[in-house]
Symmetry: C3
Subunit: 659 residues, 3 copies
Amino acid sequence: MRLGVCYYPEHWPESMWEDDARRMKALGIEQVRIAEFAWSRMEPSPGEYDWGWLDRAVDVLGAAGLQVVMCTPTATPPKWLIDRHPDILPVGADGRPRTFGSRRHYDFSSPSYYVASERICSAVAERYGKHPAVAYWQTDNEFGCHNTVVSYSPAAVGRFREWLKARYKTIDALNRAWGTVFWSMEYRSFDEIDAPVATVTEAHPSHRLDYRRFASDEVARYNRMQVEIIRAHSPGRPVAHNFMQLFTEFDHYKVAADLDVATWDSYPLGALEEQWFAPELKAKWLRTGHPDFASFNHDVYRGMSKLPFWVMEQQPGPVNWAHWNPAPLPGMVRLWSWEAFAHGAGCVSYFRWRQAPFAQEQMHAGLNTPDNRLDIGGSEAAQVAEDIRAVLAAAEDANASIRSKVALVYDYEAKWLFEIHPQGADFHYPRFAFEYYSALRGLGLDVDVVPVDAPLDGYRLIVVPPLPVVPADFAERLTRSGAQVVLGPRTGSKTADLQIPASLPPGLLASVLPARVWRVESLRPNVTEPVRLAGSASLDDGVGRHWRDFIETGASDQDALEICARFADGHPAYVRSGAIHYFASLFDDALTTRLFAGIAREAGLSVTALGDGVRVSRRGGLTYVLNYGEQVHTLADVPDAAFVVGSREIQPQGVAVYR
Amino acid sequence: MRLGVCYYPEHWPESMWEDDARRMKALGIEQVRIAEFAWSRMEPSPGEYDWGWLDRAVDVLGAAGLQVVMCTPTATPPKWLIDRHPDILPVGADGRPRTFGSRRHYDFSSPSYYVASERICSAVAERYGKHPAVAYWQTDNEFGCHNTVVSYSPAAVGRFREWLKARYKTIDALNRAWGTVFWSMEYRSFDEIDAPVATVTEAHPSHRLDYRRFASDEVARYNRMQVEIIRAHSPGRPVAHNFMQLFTEFDHYKVAADLDVATWDSYPLGALEEQWFAPELKAKWLRTGHPDFASFNHDVYRGMSKLPFWVMEQQPGPVNWAHWNPAPLPGMVRLWSWEAFAHGAGCVSYFRWRQAPFAQEQMHAGLNTPDNRLDIGGSEAAQVAEDIRAVLAAAEDANASIRSKVALVYDYEAKWLFEIHPQGADFHYPRFAFEYYSALRGLGLDVDVVPVDAPLDGYRLIVVPPLPVVPADFAERLTRSGAQVVLGPRTGSKTADLQIPASLPPGLLASVLPARVWRVESLRPNVTEPVRLAGSASLDDGVGRHWRDFIETGASDQDALEICARFADGHPAYVRSGAIHYFASLFDDALTTRLFAGIAREAGLSVTALGDGVRVSRRGGLTYVLNYGEQVHTLADVPDAAFVVGSREIQPQGVAVYR
Amino acid sequence: MRLGVCYYPEHWPESMWEDDARRMKALGIEQVRIAEFAWSRMEPSPGEYDWGWLDRAVDVLGAAGLQVVMCTPTATPPKWLIDRHPDILPVGADGRPRTFGSRRHYDFSSPSYYVASERICSAVAERYGKHPAVAYWQTDNEFGCHNTVVSYSPAAVGRFREWLKARYKTIDALNRAWGTVFWSMEYRSFDEIDAPVATVTEAHPSHRLDYRRFASDEVARYNRMQVEIIRAHSPGRPVAHNFMQLFTEFDHYKVAADLDVATWDSYPLGALEEQWFAPELKAKWLRTGHPDFASFNHDVYRGMSKLPFWVMEQQPGPVNWAHWNPAPLPGMVRLWSWEAFAHGAGCVSYFRWRQAPFAQEQMHAGLNTPDNRLDIGGSEAAQVAEDIRAVLAAAEDANASIRSKVALVYDYEAKWLFEIHPQGADFHYPRFAFEYYSALRGLGLDVDVVPVDAPLDGYRLIVVPPLPVVPADFAERLTRSGAQVVLGPRTGSKTADLQIPASLPPGLLASVLPARVWRVESLRPNVTEPVRLAGSASLDDGVGRHWRDFIETGASDQDALEICARFADGHPAYVRSGAIHYFASLFDDALTTRLFAGIAREAGLSVTALGDGVRVSRRGGLTYVLNYGEQVHTLADVPDAAFVVGSREIQPQGVAVYR
């Protein structure tokens, strides 16, 4: 548990650096991330490096007792490089190169950029790899930001063909896997295959899914190149990347597999404004963010990080990039920080030390205002530093790695697949995964977010949001876990090639769920389908939304499959086969919560209905309670002496930690 | 009256074909459409044909007693052809070619594609033209689907110039007809004229309208080429094309003029979701479709078909292509089938025999599920086959061609003109035509939908939705018909060159309607104008929406023109001159229905206010009653013995046929 | 005070011209604008001029006693010119040239077009410069219409680099001014700089703002070229341009500086429909326009015109170009005309004499219908002519130039800056400026709209809508004026380079407003913040919307800064320092009006709460009262004898003028 900050010495007069470092340290900050956008200062002209300023900056920070997180500067190739190699620029779906003048203007498949990246990464890693102040590394910055994963350049198409060859070996195999016979889309060779873009009507979904898989793999390959260079020059220093919440165009698990630390950039207010939440929710949580959004991401990245995950960038005040940018309520910067630690963060690093008065992000707050006075976020960071001392004094293993009893399976391919092949226009995978997660958290449950190939043993409850493609061993692993399992609709509905399973969904799960999904329907937003639980007299138990699977239980398997709820027209809404529960629709939040509560109890878990603004986490012998709401939350049963931070009366935006 | 199905032998193992054919026949299916997307299987490489599989498929179907509808495969040119002739690809309004990878990726004006189409059509027609199992032909597939009529390629512009030369002869005539003097748009030669696209502000409306006319003519020319090739090789077999509901970018009448059978593809649920209907209506008719939508199209295509029209593709269950895709209620596939026959269909052919598990349409239901079990739609088709036997036994001439007493004039150019030149952003011609049609049908009237140049004699009521351009003889033909005539607003408001008539609207209709439309206004959606009928005390008779014509009755003609309704500000809302009625606005549905009822009675027609879910048709001595609603509909006055299908109690989604 | 009309002799048979001229004169029209779109008739082929028709037209008009406003025809270069010099076409943000076929299809930076324009302007000016009937000139037509100011052509980029060199002298200075160190956007030479378009995420805001300044300067330069040519050939004739309401892509002040007369084109109904007004307001003012919209523009253009401003085009009936185009209520054409005169117009010129039956604007009404009968607008124009005689008889100096007591500072750069750098998606500068203006007008105040560098002495109340960049001497000039000053939020928030001021906002105004805006937030549309006025017990005094500045009053300046209102969370909502008032948010209309009323009274101004449909102006000893509302408005206190036009009972859409 420690604090960090993001710092841009190149933005400020060198005369300010020493005082900045001193004040950071005084505030309780221990690590400083630098240089991720500094290529034009490192190498002002082709081949002419200028390390002097950076040497001095690192020295100043080190001298103040701060640990440096050094970055590769590849997110912002300078203009001279673009002018020399215009093929670096990624090509949009409109066929036009995206231009220089902001950031991330590069194509992961560009050979020129690969070489240039190798060169600058080697130069930085060689220069600072063994500097005593440099303790960590970050590769690039926010892969995927601004929709930069998928490019339609000739280079990308060329590498896609190679990728396809590696996957399918023969063109016949590809034609079969995709089903190109439909609409005479058959290919005679891999060289005939283009990017799936600008077609008359929707391009082939298997083609599109493979293009997305390919593009994702390109990110992993590019990151791996950087990691290997850093490790060669800077052995023993952990390597991180800062993922960005919901930039899901690439498989974060695959990139994280090459890292030591998975970190993410947490902007709860910007995320609320830009994501799927209804306008009323955007107003309700305007200055706090949604109580489950940051924690969902904490749990996502904890699950893929070898060392404790970090928040590499923590929102310190209003930001600049959402459509509207409100100010956090006082206390929220502290609350968000504690939420990260409560979920196992090793570090919370604020973005940024001081608000810059120029360029694109001049309206993005920092811990200090542009006139160099400590802002609210800065004061709250100082308070967090003090809190940390109390917590670490109370529990040395406060940050221990623990395993939750509940697992939620989260998958990037599912996002792409449903985006490509939604069947209902609002079938938004991250939203549905989040709603399941939020229902679990509202019941006071700690949740591990895990990939589909994660070990499942030891979990008592496994929740699987709609997961179209499941691995061959998934059924077996689910069963072996002994957990209660909830499967969302559409789970098992596709093969890896994006076809319908021969025996219909749930396909590979049929062995544990003897059902046959013989029909589906998607429902427009102004249509819901009432649900009646078994034994209930009325139809007001809740509703299904967005989707309905029509389930045939099968004569021979009749006994094996229990119908726990039905729609008004009699079709099953919720069936189970032993410990395997299947939801045929996406239920309203209240019904989802009610069903999860029952199943969790059956799994032997203790559940509590928390108010919608209160959240609880347990870790390392401590319990953390956070109050996102507008009311004081009182912990009646906790003895006064148990409190390490705060007290039994948790004010709005307040935090309590107790033994 | 017979059933058909669409079948794709190339999608399935040859081992399944015989069983498929047997089961089709057993189900009561008599004809099978094949091969419309099979070019890459017919000609896997340039000039290398592979007919073996198709020979065997046709033989298998024929051996089972099924009649084959053979298709030309031109809707899906294969990749090798596109790579050889990239100019085949149509060019979008953004100047970029649309690419390979879905379907309809061809430009009607491409000379390369014209030649390639001649070649493949000749090959198919030659091979199967005289095969005993081949009873019918279909050209291409769904012209106009995915907005593929208008292309902005150099080839299209070149042919457009020729088209203009043929129409205007001299550039001076064109300049005068268009009025290019406005804004210095004058041309010195036809070669100076480009496509009307990407202009700074709206391009010249006459230029745009002519480009649309040209593009429509290109479709007709292309289809005619195919028809001629087929007829040369396959004499005596009727040639069809499957039009798609509301793909109105080309003039369906002109294409149909070259065919023997006009067919269309009926997807009531997809159409409801994708068309203009308000969200509440989309929820109300979610799983039935709008009660007048399919029948409107039946009446459209019946009117342009030499032989009885067909439904070439009938929705058999949920589809995949709408924004949301609900499942039809049980009974609807049968109801839709009977609705088609009630409107004179010669065949209802379901799309498709079996749901494909791969590619773009894998979520489109068939009569059978992908695991080859009969789906609900299949069972209902079997029921329809049984019903047909009952009906044909009761009335040999059940499918007789009859003439209705009511004609609704429907025009494609009107759609284009109002799209180009709306004056009010929501002036949507097909919607208004449909609303007039729906009001008539809600009164229990059978309606012929006819082109503006159709013979009008014999009709008692002629309804003309907004028709900007009328032929020179239209006034005379209307008068001669002796019918009551209702003209919608904007009728006669433009010359064929898209100018305002010299004497103002109604232009060429002034001889029968002595009015002068001296001003118009369009009304935004949150503004309506109350209407008071003559003799009424209040202003709550209804409202005008969207549009108002300001009508001057003219001193000398005062006596000739009766003002039947006024707006609140006193301007006439509805005037008549003898049998010619003119509506100055688009009235709300209730007022439209009320006015139509009165005028129909004056025409000697009997009208009945049907519930909004019940529809009635009469044909060949039989009356068909369909229940789209949620309530049982009882036919109190019909004797039990009269029922051929069903009974006096018509359940929701039920059908009754009686003598 | 006189009337004019826009006339297109080239659209009509020459046989009509004499009668047209005679009827114009008889109607009371004194000046006629011609030829602004007639290039293809002046020069039908390259270098071949045809002046005959235009000579005759000018002669006919002159002979009838009409004064001609001759135009340069550069808004519509003919096709042959475009074909010879395709680089004339402007390039859109999508990188594609916009094409021939409408109007304004030229790039202000195209050297070819500059030369071609010089040539045609010289030809026209030489031919008609000294013709006795030609009394005025108009350059081009509606600069900026259809978003034609900004082009992304190579020519534009080349000239932009020159513009940057002139502004910054060295590339280092530019890098510092923009802060390109952020994201490695540093440039090594001006030649590396491209247009700020098609970047991966938002381009650099300073780069964008400079590109907009450059594009605006290109318009001024182009107009200046035309003005100089005209003055050389036609000395003594005033030169005008017709600005278009809210085409704010260029700085109208800069273009007007080169003109003698600033004129604008007033389309109250089209503007209402196309601008920011809520749907309910669009319905409420459907057939009148918003009561403050035309007058706002009158005051804008009066402020920048050396001679009395004109309305060059006055809407005479329904137009064609808005999404919906309702008809003005009877009386509105007269009311609008009088509103212009009440605000100091020298001429109101109707667009157009007669509705054209062809081309893009065939649905745009004229004073006469296409069949050449006088329309309502024509009759009302005749009435205005009669009114003018009464007014001029009553007060010879009716049109005297006067100075109001209230100034509203209006700025074009502010519009661009907030568009580029909004921080809240709906921060729409013209809307907020208009709302301030409207609140003042609703209090019965006459307002001068002035640029930020206008002399401010003599004003009693100066209202400054959000003005991010203020000149160095602004604080001093405000103070010196002795006026009460209201500053909107964000005033002083940026330097001229688009950076945050070193001491934070209000930056250069800190000397007169000792505050520190240490934080801001933008608020989504469904969030408002209650405001409590000092001394008020409740929170229902009103609300802040869109934006909040967080103001620190500063310990040492505590006494100097009075907190006049607070938000619910205690932050100041309205502070003042002596006569300088600062609003920290955009208040609702009622609260804005209430605050303005109090401040105006403090400034010694008399205010009256007018009904929302009544507006009053005073000029040259006369008071003009206009009734936009639905109720009769009675002027109880004015003696009967005082009325020059109308009476004490002002009907809806009525006008009264009294001494």
